[in-house]
Symmetry: C2
Subunit: 465 residues, 2 copies
């Protein structure tokens, strides 16, 4: 399993580690396996915690959207029209109103929210849901990356009194996603998408992009300022303090299964997964090294340590008798378990255990009495190391480019552009890459690579998933 | 809000307590609100814990099932044919293969499981998922009870070497659901459904039925022994110890949103919800009774108690200044919060607090130093009381009947029947009620009410949702 051949490695590890079964016989649909489900649940827990700390409440809207709702905002339906799955029959009957499988839930949520919001006192309103959404993708589909059923779509929707409050919410959303991706040690670049690539119906779109081991960028989160583009057709109005009515200002933002794809792709190595303690189904696996004569004393110590640690850590003790210690090591390394504790007869005699950490593939001996402190420090250090390593890789693959002909596939290219659509489009045509958009946290004086106008804007360009 | 007018009460409480918004403009589809979502999450946590303790692993299969899969087991498709929603278009294209929205997931799961199972060592296999499923109901739809999108469908699927092992699994499933319904204090009767009412494709179906305040029965869980009915068409075979191959034996069992419906309907009263501590979004709400001059000392004590309890309980402190204590009492009673702590200026002076418990509507004064112990005992007692009360209501509404003309709507009627379909069908025609099936844990010598044959079988008959 060489991670150099990234596509192949990715599909192999999904199967071998028990994340997904990719043999479901419909294009773009996959089966989540138990180990994958556990990782997914850890990730969901983190994003829910962060959203709730920021005052978002969880809701759940129906999957099926009547055709007339979906068509209410004209740019929105133009953007999604070719991707919508339509339910046209119920039993043996043709439905009177066609029902769309939600490609995203604006048009399901907003008609109902228009009933909820009456006065300025009802604002701001911040809600989110975690649902499956459907896109009839005609491009090449890929597990966790380009799906026809996105199984883990977290979408937040917010409603505000003024444009400024919606702008402030976009900034809050950026902070929320920074916290989230920092917590799961995924590096990112934040780009304001060019106009032709924004969310259908939005005023503008801010995206988080990361970089995969093959040098391609992947969009992992988007944040949209919707202005009043949806509140007008959906009639979401509130009574102001002065008694007049105004349409609300809105934002929405989302992440998807791609978060899990990133964790697998960015932290993994040739041996398989490498999981952060917080998102690993088990944080520690104990492997007793059993020989006939010392069997009992080794098992005693293994259970003693298991009992010592079980309240603090998600821990598993691998007692399989038909596998050698070596094959167990290999197995749990492939599964990405952060820390392995090996206990052999000599370790019992010497009052030590052997600790192995997956991220650095390092093995140390620790005295029994130091075990708990060592584990605690090591868990933190694994997080720190994975995060630093991932950021280092990203930073090494961002290149500052001053001539169009130097723009390279396999890197994120930073170039000066004036911001006009025509100049961005020219870059895309010339290079065959994607203009990810303007770096929102970076400025540099220069000249647009296309029209030579003065500009301090930096744009990012990359081959993209 | 009188619970006597049950249907009206139920819809009102869903809205007022913030469980569901029932105004989504497609029949049989509803919107989960934040408070409802929190209750739902508590319930999901319990069933997951119990299933995992019994060795079930969580998976997630796609929503869309190709038509030829759905049609593989002939009785199954006959049973569901008229209830299936069909996706026939993607974007502007007609799909080559029609895709069903899963009405249940046997036909999505079994083709893939047939790839997983090779040898007797792979058995038993026990998996479950919690998903949305779809039924094009033509009957009257009702929130949480009869839905077109069932949003919380927990389905378990198990695979075994022999028929006996599948039978043992049916018994384990009964134990699982007993644990689950006992934990959420919902009373049940366990009935073996008559042949004409079993799950399409099953050998037989065991159901858990409860009784609603209006005297109608509600099916809240079903367990199916599938024998080899699915393993043959889906080719799920395993290699036996002797090297021969055999088709596996299967069971499946499920619960749905109806669990939440039961919690609301069975425990509630004229004032609204009554929630068990384990499934209440907050277990305790503190309401400081604020007067101008004693404001600070009351708030100090309220926060002190909040901080004392916040690690142990889900607790909320209601500091709204634009609501009177009385209206706060009313609000949280309606929301079903198990325990309310009221703190007034006199309570501060006397070193006591006032505790109110929702289930009995009782108020007591407790000395500060006794608070923690009192709360702990009271939480247990609330559970015990709600459970006893619910079982008492069920038992009072089960009647032993000896003549067909005495069978009554509004009760669960227990009658002697021989077990022949023709006798059961006769009872249904004659009474307009539903034969729920044979009581699996009760026998009594008697004569079939229809054909007068000797029998020790007891059948249950009721008006049913």
């Amino acid at each position: 399993m060489k991670r150099e051949n990234f596509s192949e490695w990715f599909n192999q590890i999904l199967e071998k580690a028990g994340i997904l079964d990719i043999r479901y016989p419909v294009k773009g649909l996959y089966v989540w396996l138990p180990y994958g489900m556990k990782i997914r649940e850890c990730v969901i827990k983190i994003i829910k915690e962060i959203l709730e700390n920021h005052g978002h409440e969880e809701v759940l809207f129906p999957l099926l959207i009547p055709e007339d709702f979906l068509r209410k905002e004209s740019e929105h339906i133009r953007g999604f029209e070719e991707q919508v799955y339509w339910v046209t029959r119920g039993g043996s009957k043709e439905l009177n109103v066609k029902l769309a499988l939600r490609p995203t839930s604006e048009t399901a949520i907003y008609p109902i929210v228009s009933l909820w919001i009456k006065s300025h006192k009802d604002l701001p309103l911040k809600i989110y849901q975690i649902v499956n959404v459907f896109r009839y993708e005609t491009k090449h589909t890929r597990p966790l990356i380009r799906l026809r059923e996105i199984t883990t779509f977290k979408e937040a929707h917010t409603f505000h009194r003024t444009f400024e409050e919606a702008e402030a919410q976009v900034k809050e959303a950026i902070e929320i996603y920074k916290k989230f991706f920092d917590r799961i040690a995924i590096p990112y670049l934040i780009n304001k998408r060019p106009d032709w690539d924004k969310f259908p119906g939005a005023i503008y779109t801010i995206a988080f992009d990361t970089i995969f081991p093959d040098g391609k960028s992947l969009q992992i989160a988007t944040i949209h300022n919707l202005g009043q583009n949806f509140s007008k057709p959906f009639n979401i109005k509130y009574e102001k303090v002065d008694g007049n009515f105004e349409y609300v200002y809105q934002t929405c933002y989302g992440i998807s299964d791609r978060v899990i794809a990133s964790i697998i792709a960015i932290h993994g190595d040739d041996r398989g997964l490498i999981l952060l303690p917080e998102i690993s189904p088990y944080q520690i696996v104990i492997i007793p090294i059993i020989y006939k004569e010392s069997r009992q004393k080794v098992l005693n110590k293994a259970w003693k340590i298991y009992n010592l640690l079980k309240e603090k850590y998600k821990i598993y003790i691998d007692l399989r008798e038909d596998e050698t210690p070596g094959s167990k090591f290999y197995y749990w390394e492939m599964k990405g378990i952060p820390i392995r504790i090996e206990i052999g007869p000599r370790d019992v005699d010497e009052g030590v255990v052997t600790i192995f950490r997956r991220d650095k593939m390092e093995r140390i001996k620790v005295r029994d009495e130091d075990l708990e402190n060592t584990l605690k420090d090591m868990m933190n250090d694994i997080y720190k190391n994975l995060r630093e390593r991932a950021w280092k890789f990203l930073e090494e693959n961002v290149v500052r480019i001053f001539r169009i002909e130097d723009i390279r596939e396999g890197y994120i290219n930073e170039i000066s552009l004036c911001g006009k659509d025509s100049c961005g489009r020219y870059i895309e045509e010339k290079t065959g890459l994607r203009v990810l958009g303007e770096a929102i946290e970076k400025k540099e004086d220069g000249y647009c690579l296309v029209c030579k106008e003065r500009t301090d804007k930096i744009y990012r360009v990359a081959k993209s998933y």
